[in-house]
Subunit: 326 residues, 2 copies
């Protein structure tokens, strides 16, 4: 039995969605159990409603909620009764817990991960997204919005976190690291990117493949794509905006031409390009994986990210045991 | 007769493409004439090949070429025999010339515009793109890659340039200005963006509508979208990459399902989302409009941007004469 922590508070759609997602995840994974953190009575009622097998559920009472108005520096020390902080603390204390899912405030989450799950003193974790490429491979985009202003040293650190993650969980021996820039040449980029290019080129532990431009970011040219959180946020959101726009255009075209074939295509595209439901951001640099789903996520995101936590855990176990033979 | 300058050098496909584009533009616009800058003999031969009406062509000899290896600070003072610099100088001197098109090195072009066409001492122009929104309106994205590191004051300056351009050429009375950021709240953004938010909020000449996230950048929420050249380059290239990827996926799907209807859709989408041929970047902050097409552009880009220069000129004339009645 593998057990994950689910923060039932902090989602736009409320705790009902999170618990429904947890019930669906448990139903689809025979050896998954969950620790649900939040209001005990509410959780019990919702579990019953969604036919959750109660022998695979544990409940942890947490009366407080982290909201989007909470200040990270303040909340991390004063909202210790919140579902997010209680969940993270418990995750850090119990060996049997393999990871956590939350839809709550990103800033507070990062600060809380630093407090409870940081592997090294004062090392800031990164918020990464594992994105499917056109060729079927995956690229780990790091950072996607947790750290907005990044000096070159932080970008190097992101490269290290991304390399480790793709090696341990995707089992890529020497992950290729690209640096997001506005041109392929090493002279292109803002000040931090130009400096980071030199650091990455000289870092022995990094398989640096050079600058990568936005138009080829998700074609499979690299396994890890490094950028500051501002640029990473643009990559994610512009991709989403463009996909949404094209799908809307195609729907209009299908209606105008009364084409059932094209409406079927729309269904296909919505499955492939629905970034919102595909997964969540994963916090790298912690002693255990924590996944942040969007505030406006639906239950599919809970199911998908529960699966992701299981995959990370299983691959890491395989990798760790394989290392014993090397 | 309205006359534009065309730099025949600097394009990846060579001068033949530029001159073919010029001939197509002249053929489609009865009152357009061109000043072609480059190697006189070569231009004559190509004009003949493409059946250019020679009474609407003037040739300006320029033996040197600006390459992508030229350093802007150096080239702007030493490559004065180049087609780009000769073209810009002539544009600045002759009233009858209404604008210029070039595919050459962006850095050198910006530096040369500062030297020859700047309206104010030491004010750096911006490279903008006018992008079609989903709702049929247009948004002027500024900057798209000319100025990579931008303090807040530069972002305010971009807002002013974009406002003026959309007012004068698109005749929007009070253009709505958005600031690209990683969140809607004014506390979101990198250091420069957060400072720029305050400057824009307090600028009386700017109709500031707040931060705009990447997923809604091109939905029509603002007429001018301000960002540094690094982020603007991501917006352009990620949009292009996503559109290209989706079209490739749709082609595969159409082949798999042997659907002629979907192949027709592909033709439609390629027309709408082919950013490469749609136009070029326009340099704002000059005394006359200069359009930079991509190095790898084809002749359609020359035709489209010649049309754009005519539109800018005509709208500006209408606007200037209308102002006399206000």
């Amino acid at each position: 039995m593998r057990k994950i922590v689910i923060d039932t508070k902090g989602a736009d759609q409320g705790g009902e969605m999170m618990i429904k997602g947890a019930a669906l995840a448990v139903a689809s994974q025979p050896d998954l159990s969950v620790l649900l953190v939040g209001d005990t009575d509410f959780i019990r009622t919702e579990c019953e409603k969604h036919e959750m097998p109660m022998d695979r559920v544990e409940i942890l009472e947490a009366p407080e909620e982290i909201t989007n108005y909470d200040d990270p520096a303040d909340a991390v020390f004063h909202k210790t009764e919140s579902s997010m902080l209680r969940g993270l603390l418990t995750l850090s204390q119990q060996d049997q817990l393999i990871g956590m899912i939350t839809a709550g405030n990103t800033g507070v989450l990062i600060a809380s991960c630093v407090r409870y799950l940081s592997r090294k003193e004062r090392v800031r974790p990164a918020l990464a997204a594992v994105l499917p490429n056109q060729d079927g491979s995956f690229t780990c985009l790091v950072d996607t919005g947790a750290t907005i202003d990044c000096p070159a040293a932080t970008l190097l650190h992101f490269a290290q976190l991304g390399t480790e993650f793709m090696r341990d969980t995707y089992r890529i021996e020497s992950p290729r690291v690209g640096l997001l820039s506005n041109g392929a040449e090493e002279t292109k980029g803002n000040k931090a990117v130009k400096e980071a290019h030199q650091l990455l080129k000289n870092a022995e532990s990094i398989n640096f493949v050079g600058n990568v431009e936005g138009n080829i970011a998700l074609t499979g040219v690299c396994d890890v794509l490094v950028c500051d959180g501002f640029a990473g946020n643009q990559v994610l959101k512009v991709t989403e905006g463009t996909a949404t726009r094209m799908i809307t255009d195609i729907v209009k075209y299908a209606k105008r031409n009364q084409s059932a074939e094209i409406m079927e295509l729309v269904g296909h595209l919505m499955g492939v390009y629905d970034i919102g439901s595909l997964g969540g951001g994963i916090i790298l640099g912690c002693s255990k994986p924590v996944i942040k789903i969007r505030g406006n996520a639906g239950e599919a995101a809970v199911v998908n990210t529960a699966q992701m936590l299981l995959n990370i855990y299983d691959n890491k176990q395989i990798f760790d045991s394989a290392k014993n033979y090397i």
